[in-house]
């Protein structure tokens, strides 16, 4: 067990180090989410009155697509160098390797959220509360688990850019429903978010367990 955690942390550190040295993904994602806000501005005719009702939708759209790019990249880089095969040849368990890569991808997406949420507050004038951050972070955990599992899968499939959103987005919906509700409340659209936050925790547990059970079959080819 300790060994598994050590391997996962080592893989995560490797991914984060390589991102730190190249500084490719996070700046690109940050730019991507800001662009999403700009496009939303022109698509929606945003003013002070309708901003709180539009902002949550924009937030989730930007986050979900940024997530798809982040998870896809996590395994695309390994595929280009064929380094995943090399890692899988070591005695390390595939689940530990997967956990490490998923942790790194989650952290990179969180960095992108650190740009997205303040930018949303800046451009849309919506409040940036602890409740909002909590809901987004909880949703990120479960989405990263599923997203990385399917990213690992499609990395070996033809037309991977096509297939990843198609497989992953339907599985994100529970997080978007519950997270969406919590964010609506946080942005002052009324209602109670306790139930939504509780559901997010339940979904996180369910999807992380399910992912850890099936990751072996996806990686161990």
């Amino acid at each position: 067990m300790n060994n598994t955690i050590a391997i996962a942390l080592a893989v995560a550190r490797k991914d984060l180090t390589s991102e730190w040295r190249t500084r490719e993904l996070v700046p690109a994602l940050a730019q991507f989410v800001v662009l999403a806000l700009v496009i939303a501005n022109f698509g929606f005719q945003i003013d002070a009155h309708n901003a709180p009702s539009i902002a949550p939708g924009v937030l989730w759209l930007a986050l979900v697509f940024a997530g798809l790019v982040a998870f896809g990249r996590a395994f695309a880089a390994e595929r280009e160098q064929s380094s995943l095969e090399a890692m899988l040849m070591t005695p390390a368990s595939p689940v530990a390797i997967f956990a490490g890569k998923a942790m790194a991808a989650t952290l990179l997406l969180v960095m992108c959220e650190a740009v997205l949420l303040p930018a949303l507050t800046l451009f849309f004038g919506t409040p940036l509360t602890a409740q909002l951050v909590l809901a987004v972070l909880l949703a990120t955990i479960g989405m990263a688990a599923v997203g990385c599992l399917f990213a690992a899968m499609v990395a070996r499939v033809r037309a991977r850019e096509l297939l990843l959103p198609l497989l992953t987005l339907p599985l994100f919906i529970p997080f978007i429903v519950a997270g969406g509700q919590a964010v609506q409340v946080a942005m002052g659209n009324g209602g109670n978010s306790d139930q939504a936050v509780g559901l997010l925790v339940d979904f996180d547990i369910l999807f992380v367990v399910l992912t850890s059970l099936t990751a072996r079959f996806v990686l161990d080819e």
């Binding site: 499939v157 339907p170 599985l171 919906i173 529970p174 079959f217 080819e221």
Partner: protein
């Protein structure tokens, strides 16, 4: 006629009988009128679709455990037939919703989760097409099938917390007059037979599409691994 053609003819005959019961035996609904007759096939095909996707789940899980090709073929057959029945459910539901709700679509728990169901299993079939045929496609699809089956109730219940307008379960609530209940049960039985026959036929097609080579290859590799064992 071979046995597949016989089974198909029997299933079609049963569906014609069910149509007769729906249009001539079941009484017209006092509130909804003729449109209510959609209900019989709509609910039956939804149940048939769930059954097919359960086959996908169980087949996928068995495949992941044991690598059984039979289980994988059943999963493939179930996904395709289930997708057909989901399409029927969605289309008939929308035709019913237009006169009754005044709109084809509402973002309600049932509708949303059924649409997600459709998208997931369409993705399942795409994975099968795009992944390398054989072990990779079967494994990846099995994982999609497992996640898909779990996701649908999750979507359903998560949406239920906040919005719903689909009619509740009326069969278990004893709200149907006996003729309607009898028609519904008969239609459901016929639809389930039809689904089972379609899965069997699709299973046969998948077996033929795999070709004789697949089993032979498995036997050959099994024999080789045996040969590699030290002689006692």
């Amino acid at each position: 006629m071979n046995r597949f053609e016989q089974a198909a003819a029997a299933a079609v005959g049963l569906m014609v009988l069910a149509a007769g019961a729906i249009f001539f035996y079941a009484p017209t609904d006092a509130l909804q009128g003729q449109v209510q007759r959609i209900f019989y096939l709509h609910v039956s095909s939804a149940i048939a679709a769930y059954g097919c996707f359960a086959v996908v789940l169980v087949g996928g899980a068995i495949y992941l455990r044991s690598g059984s090709l039979v289980a994988d073929r059943f999963a493939r057959a179930g996904a395709l037939v289930g997708l057909v029945f989901t399409t029927v459910t969605l289309v008939m539901g929308m035709l019913w919703a237009k006169p009754i709700w005044g709109t084809f679509w509402a973002w309600d728990a049932r509708l949303t989760s059924t649409l997600v169901l459709w998208i997931i299993y369409a993705g399942y079939l795409l994975v099968r097409r795009l992944a390398e045929p054989g072990r990779q496609a079967a494994r990846f699809a099995a994982v999609v099938g497992i996640f898909g089956f779990i996701d649908v109730p999750v979507v359903h219940f998560s949406v239920t917390w906040w919005r719903t307008q689909h009619p509740g379960p009326i069969i278990v609530n004893d709200a149907l007059p006996p003729e309607m209940l009898a028609t519904f049960l008969f239609t459901m039985a016929c639809t389930l037979v039809l689904a089972a026959v379609m899965v069997m036929i699709r299973y046969r097609i998948e077996t033929l599409a795999d070709g004789p080579g697949v089993e032979t290859a498995q036997v050959v590799s099994a024999v080789k691994s045996r040969e590699a064992e030290p002689v006692q």
